[in-house]
Structures are given as C-alpha cells and as structure tokens.
Amino acid sequence: MKNIYADHAASAPVHHEAAKAMMEAMENNIGNPSSIHHYGRKARMQLDQARQQLADSIGAAVDEIILTSGGTEADNLALVGYAKAHKDQGSHIITTQIEHHAVLHTCERLENQGFDVTYIPVNQYGQVSLEAVQEAITDKTILVSVMHGNNEVGTIQPIEEIADIAQANNVAFHTDAVQSYGLMPIDMKQTPVTLMSVSSHKINGPKGIGFLYAKKGTKLMPFLTGGEQEKKRRAGTENVAAAAGFAKAVEMAVEQREERAGFYQQLSDYFLKCLESEGVRFELNGAKEERLPHITNIFIPNISLESFLVQLDLAGIAASSGSACTAGSVEPSHVLSAMFNDPNRSASSLRFSFGQGNSFEEVEQIAKEIRTIVHRMNSG
C-alpha cells in the first residue's frame, strides 16, 4: 500500500533545498544576529538576506517584514497589536465569519477587552460582498480583516477591492494570506494592504516561522518584549536557520508560482473528473472559479466524517475535515456553517489539498478509494 499525502493545506513537506539551507545555517552560522562580533555579523547578514527575499516576494521594504513564529502569531500581532495601538481612534473591527481561528478567536478575545467586532457573513460559495464590507464601516471602525484564500474551501476573497474600500474610509486593512501566499501574487506597491500574515510551512518551508507584513509607519503594540529585535515589535533572538529555510522556500515559490498553481489546478480538476467517472455523488464546496488551486473540499451526502477520514487513513490516504480536531471533538466547520444553513453539510464534507509531490495516478487512487468507502458505508 502506497501512502498518499493530500493534506498540504495543513502542512506541506519541507523542500529538500530549504532543508539544506537550514542545515547549512545551523552548522555554519552559529552567532546571534544582535552580537557585535563577526559571528554576529555573519548571522545578521544571513537574516537580512532572508528578510530581503521575503520582502521582495510581495514588493515590500525589508523593515516592513516582522518575523514571527508563524501565521497564528502574525494574525495575533496584527489584530491585537493594531487594535491596542489605535484604541484612541476607535473600538470597532470588521472581519468575516469564515476566518481562520487564529483571527476569529483573537477577535473574540478583543471583544472581551471592550472592542466591538462585526463578523460579515458569506454567500454559499464562501464569498464576502464588497457592499457588506462598505456598510459595516462606521466612524468607530479602525481595522478590517479579511482573509485572502480560505483554508477550508479555498474560496478567494476580492482583497484588492476590499483594501481600496478600507483605504477610502481611512481604515487599516489586514489580510490573512497564509493559504494563498506563494500561489496568488500580491504586490504591496499596487494594493493598499496595511497588514498581511504569512506562514512558511504552507509553502514547503519549515514549521515555526512566518511573517507579518506591516506597512511602513503602522503602529503596533508588541506583546513580546525583551530585546530590540524586529524593531521592537517582536523581541527574541531570531531563528536564523528557519529564516534561511523559509527564504529558500519563498525563492522557489516565487520562481515556480505559475507552474505550481497550474499543476495544482490540473490535479484538482482531474480529481473532480475522477470522482464523477467513479460515480461518486458529491458537490463541490467553495467557489468554482475564484478558488485556491490546491484546495478541493467536497460534500458527500450521508457519510460520517469521523469514520470516513479514519478509513481513508487506514487505506494510506491523508486528508482532512478542514479544521483540525482534538480528543474526538469534531466541531462543525464554522466555514461550512457560514456558507450553508445545513449541519449535515459540514458533517459530511472533506478537504483534499494537493502539492508538488502528488501525481495524477495518486488522484485517481484517492477517487477510487472514496468510491470504495462510500459503497462500504452505504451497504453497512
């Protein structure tokens, strides 16, 4: 039995080149970037090069990149850091019902601390309407946070237009680009984004590192204090090796962006075709066109998700239900709940997300296995 990994949206394997860059940094670059001696300077140089790579990938300046421990920390720093630094100007934040929990749970925490949050609904394709964003803005609004590509269903939001609306209303705009970064190009010189969260391990870099883009002049209240790293916005000795690996992964992602996106799209399209030819009854969740190429979320009527994922795993296929669950607590997906007024929809929907290591044969194999499991469940 050959194992198939179709859960790249959860985490993508570290590219061999990125791993090599990390290993080299760990073995050959031992200093602390803040030290004054030559070991420190060498580490600082590697860190600066990495930061330059990250900045270039989105048309940003190097001092607009704050290295973090990942997407979650970037989202937290963006929301809490911005809200606390601007509480004199207003107490209202706008986000959507389909954000990642790193945004939603952080917004809930801000609500407990006196901020008001509007959670904009979405349509059945998971799309936010521009009118809804416009209408939600009040004179107390300080920040709008809308994700770029949804992690569960892949739907892409019109963040350029939303950024324009925010700018026209003199409100900051944050976007969680954890899933879209590397696949959907974005240029900070063209789009008026104030803050953007990015994670390394979704684009074949190491886990435990990411960055927050913060437009020059954006005030943030830091929550890690200590040394003066990251221009006092995030204290702590920088993870030089991870930054080197991340930068290598970014370099490759930028170079191969179109090629990768095209390949993932072909895999996703072929997957749907295979499901049809296997005679599996299913519906696609998320937008058909405006969707991240690597994410395919399908609703298969009358299946029990818990059992289905286990059966796939026992057959060697790794997929997911969208959001991770612990100790048997399967929360109904908040994304699917926002899209459909039907609890069965989220109890019977699965996410497959493809990556560089996947092949058309594997996609065929997954579709065959899905058919087998559906038959077994319906006959049982």
């Binding site: 029990s304 818990e306 059992s307 286990v310 059966q311 795993d313 026992l314 669950c325 612990t326 100790a327 048997g328 607590s329 399967v330 077994r376 469940m377 049982g380």
Partner: protein
C-alpha cells in the same frame, strides 16, 4: 476464525491501564490493532482544561509505544440522549440509576461497536474484566472475569448475542495485579496511572453539586417509619438506600440509616441500626431483563448480584409475564435499590440481568 494477522481489532482506549494492556496483549498476539478513544462528555473549563484531552494524551503515548494507529470519536450527543437523560430521569423518579450499564448497552457496544464495524473491524476489544466464550453452535456465552474482585459482568448484563459475537475481552483471563504487572513490564506510559473511580462524567467532582446543577432539589422531612420527624433532607435524589453518611441525626443509640424514600410526600424514611428490619427485603421485581443466551420462561434457581462486587446470593426466578420477573431471595437482602441492576449467574456463566423495579419487603407478599 481468521488468522490474527488478517484480523482487525479495534480497541476502545480510555487512557487507563486496563485498555492499554488490552491493546498491548492483542498486538503481541499478532492482530492488526487500532486504538480508538471515545469522547462522551465535555468538561472543558474556562482555562481549556478537559479531562478527555489528558486521557487522550495518554492514549497517544501508549499507541506510539505499541506502534499502532490511534483515532478519536465523539459520542457526546449519543451519550447525552441515551445515558445522561436516563440518568436524570431516574433520579427524578426517585431511583438510583446505573449509567455504566446503559453506557455499555447503548454507547460502548452499540454506537462505538457500529463505528468500529464501519472501519472494517472484525472485533471490538475493551479492557473489561469478563470473558467471552465462543460455543460450537455459533453462540457466545459471557463468563465472569477470573479476578472475582474485578469481575465486570455486572455492568455488561444487557449485552446481546449480536454484540458479544463481535467483542473481545482479553483481560478476562487475568487478575488486576497481573494487568498492572504487564503494564510495568512493558513500560507502558499508563502503568502507574490511578484507576478512575465513580461515574465517568462526574469524575472527582462533588456528586451533590453536580446533580444540583441539573435537577432542582426539594428539601423535606426525614421521618422514622413510625412517623417521627428526625430532621430535614436536602432532596431525595441525594440519598441512597442503606446510606449512613450525611444524615446529621445525632442522639443516643445506634447510627441512623436511609431505609426508604417516599416520593409522594417527599420524605426520607430513616431508621436506627445497620440491620434495621426496614432495610431488608425478601425479593424483588425486575424489568428489562436481557437474556444473554436462552430466554428462560419457567421458574428456576440460580445466583444473583444486586450490586457490583457483592458476593453471589441464591435466588429463585419466576417469570410473571409482560416482561416482569419476580426474584425471590433464599435469604433476606439488605438495601435492595430500585434503578440498580440485578444480574443472574449460573456458575461462571452470566445469564443476563435487568433493572430492579421494586423490593418485596415481606415473606407474605413474596409468596403471593
């Protein structure tokens, strides 16, 4: 039977030592073993601490030691609907429920067994101290665990042939001490973990406080059988027949015990002395009798337990029709408690059991 390596066994793992050893033994015997943790209750507190998460962490540790896959499944809804509502209803009716019996019948060996079967399992194994004997005529018998002090057939009395056919109880042949020793010898992460006690969803919490948050308490009088008021009770549901603690009746003479509950006028009947005659019965009526093998329609003599870990008592069982059975004791029994299980045995074989509906107090009414 298929060869072990072609046989998929799903082990219900709780994070305790018994189910850990169950999985380890089956793995040693060459079965394809999969560990599944069942979450039936959510007690997450404001700091995100939940006993289920801690127990699941132990399941993960043990499964990694055994190199077997592990998963979790959630039956909170089923547990609430089948076990917890029953639990509250019984208390509301002035009875003392046995949620473990219902949990085994409706959750562990129904919802969970179905789940295991849907995953292609040949058997579901649990860490219960009981034995399944597969007979030549394709039926199964349920035997007591060899450790008479740990035997759990009392809680398994409602299982059917269909359920037991798909079940394995590897610990039935072992004593608790041997199980602990195996866990220690194998260095299992749960080897020295304390056994859980009490009702699973209440855990270490105060029972009274727990019940109070779900059912309104109605305080009333504590009276003697002769009608003398001895004090106030906090609500009938907080007391069990035969209970001595927590009555707060002082004075001279022997200690006071709960001997009955009068739901109609909300009084708790109390009497002096462990052996107060009001606590003793000559027989009982039982309903919901489950026969594990053959349905018995003629009167017969066997042994019975009216509570977990009690020694066997001689009884004669009379089918009364309409699913009701009269069980006559050969010697009077103390504190027969409606709502609890009565379980019948023929030697090592558990015949089945039912729910105690009513104690029969006098010799005359037993012979009626």
């Amino acid at each position: 039977m298929k060869k072990p390596e072609d046989t998929r066994v799903i082990v219900g793992m709780s994070g305790g030592v018994d189910s850990s050893v169950t999985a380890a033994l089956l793995k040693d015997q060459g079965y394809e073993v999969i560990g599944i943790f069942m979450k039936n209750w959510d007690d997450t507190d404001e700091f995100g601490v939940c006993t289920a998460t801690e127990d699941y962490d132990d399941v993960i540790k043990v499964c990694n030691q055994l190199d077997i896959p592990y998963y979790a499944v959630n039956f909170e809804k089923e547990y609430w609907n089948h076990v917890f509502t029953y639990f509250l209803d019984e208390y509301k009716a002035g009875r003392t429920p046995n949620p473990d019996v219902v949990c085994n019948k409706e959750i562990k060996f129904k919802a969970f067994l179905d789940h295991a079967m849907s995953l292609g399992a040949d058997y579901l194994a649990t860490g219960h101290y009981a034995r399944v004997q597969r007979n030549a005529d394709n039926t199964v018998s349920m035997l007591r665990g060899v450790d008479s002090n740990k035997d759990q057939t009392y809680f398994l009395n409602q299982l059917s042939q269909d359920q037991l056919k798909h079940v394995m109880f590897p610990l039935g042949e072992l004593t608790k001490q041997e199980v602990r020793q195996i866990a220690v010898d194998k260095g299992l992460a749960t080897a020295s973990k304390k056994d859980s006690t009490g009702i699973c969803f209440i855990g270490e919490r105060n029972f009274k406080d727990f019940l109070k948050s779900y059912l309104p308490a109605q305080p009333g009088d504590m009276v003697t059988p002769e009608g003398e008021v001895k004090g106030q009770h906090d609500g009938l549901m907080y007391y069990t027949l035969g209970q001595r603690q927590g009555l707060g009746i002082g004075g001279a003479g022997e200690p006071w015990f709960v001997i009955d509950k009068n739901l109609k006028d909300n009084t708790l009947i109390v009497g002096q002395g462990f052996h107060h005659s009001g606590l003793y019965s000559q027989g009982l009526y039982a309903s919901n009798i489950n026969w594990i093998e053959n349905k018995l329609t003629e009167p017969f003599t066997c042994t019975a337990k009216f509570r977990y870990r009690q020694s066997d008592q001689e009884v004669t069982v009379y089918p009364e029709g309409n699913g009701l059975y009269k069980i006559v004791f050969h010697a009077p029994q103390r504190a027969i408690t409606p709502g609890q299980a009565v379980v019948l045995y023929d030697g090592e074989v558990c015949l089945g059991g039912g729910t105690i509906e009513e104690a029969i107090k006098t010799r005359e009414s037993v012979e009626a």
